[in-house]
């Protein structure tokens, strides 16, 4: 599933322009413990979190994630967005909760560790 399709399907707000939005999303992971995300997410995954700290961009870069969805209407810290722009990490926001977003991603056919 393409990132751009997911953005349309879920109505996500794109916070970082100039990012590769036509890449393929290979799976999804939901966690608010960054050490856990580093251990259990994978390349090309979309990560759902309430975190807005700059470390989320570093984790996304380190794990080569497809992007980060920040939920609950939370605004990423300016430093987070700056770093995301620098490293071309797609960051999205939504007013929906983690639960709602996870449900919609699953309904759209996205699985944790889906083989694409």
């Amino acid at each position: 599933m393409k990132l751009s399709d997911i953005i349309d399907e879920l109505g996500l707000a794109v916070e970082v322009e100039d990012c590769c939005l036509d890449c393929e999303v290979r799976g999804c992971y939901l966690s608010d413990i960054l050490s856990d995300v580093m251990a259990n997410s994978g390349e090309g995954y979309l990560w759902v979190t309430i975190h807005i700290h700059p470390n989320i961009t570093a984790v996304a870069q380190f794990k080569a994630l497809a992007g980060v969805v920040v939920v609950n209407g939370r605004n990423p810290q300016p430093e987070t967005l700056k770093k995301a722009e620098e490293h071309k990490i797609p960051i999205f926001t939504t007013d929906l909760s983690s639960y709602e977003i996870a449900g919609r991603l699953y309904a759209a056919g996205l699985r944790c560790k889906s083989e694409c």
Partner: protein, 214 residues
């Protein structure tokens, strides 16, 4: 030397200092502050006034809610003889809306030492919550409270921690005090001397005592 470091509060520090008066025990005013990322940062201060200054900021930023004694116990404020003066009704177990770096900045604004609390622990430990030390975070030290060595923590998180370390008990109960300690070579048991010892200035030093002497 012990530090009184309640969660998001310093209201009992003054009584502890008064109770320790005319004993050889030194009380360092402290506070264990919860950031918005649910990371615990320990603030150590050189005066009750500084701790109270930070307390004012923290109370302004503490997420609203009332303590429930049934779950979290009573939050009494006591005098030096252990008599209850009042009860703190705030939800001190909760988090503030300050980011980790804002918490560190607040501690430094009041000339305190900012320590990443129990980095070897899962719950509320900086490394578990945020994966690694955030770039540019001006910590003065990291704290170990379990039986782990810093090298083990570094290996676990595959990162190098180029910061002074202290070891202590993170006591939530009286019997836990002194379960793990740090030895300082200093001129006097004061915060400014601890600061110098952490930096290893003029022959001073700080080192964790025994890995476990329970």
């Amino acid at each position: 030397m012990i530090a009184i470091s309640d969660h998001n509060s310093a209201e009992n520090v003054e009584a502890a200092i008064a109770a320790a008066d005319s004993t050889s025990l030194t009380i360092i005013p402290g506070m264990e502050i919860t950031s918005s990322e649910e990371v615990h940062i320990l603030g150590l201060f050189d005066s009750v006034t500084a701790a109270q200054g930070v307390q004012k900021v923290i109370y302004e930023h503490l997420n609203p809610g009332q303590n429930n004694e049934e779950f979290f116990g009573s939050q009494y404020v006591v005098d030096k003889d252990d008599y209850v003066i009042s009860e703190n009704k705030r939800l001190l177990i909760g988090a503030t809306d300050l980011s980790v770096s804002e918490v560190v900045e607040t501690i430094h604004k009041f000339s305190g030492l900012a320590v990443a609390a129990h980095i070897d622990r899962e719950r509320f430990g900086l490394l578990y919550q945020l994966g690694f030390l955030p770039e540019g975070l001006e910590l003065d030290a990291v704290e170990l409270t379990g039986n782990s060595k810093l090298s083990e923590v570094e290996e676990k998180f595959r990162c190098s921690i180029d910061l002074p370390q202290i070891c202590d008990s993170d006591s939530h109960f009286l019997d836990d005090i002194g379960r793990r300690t740090t030895e300082f070579l200093v001129e006097a048991p004061t915060l400014s001397e601890i600061r110098l010892a952490l930096k290893g200035i003029d022959g001073r030093w700080a080192r964790c005592r025994g890995e476990n002497h329970a």
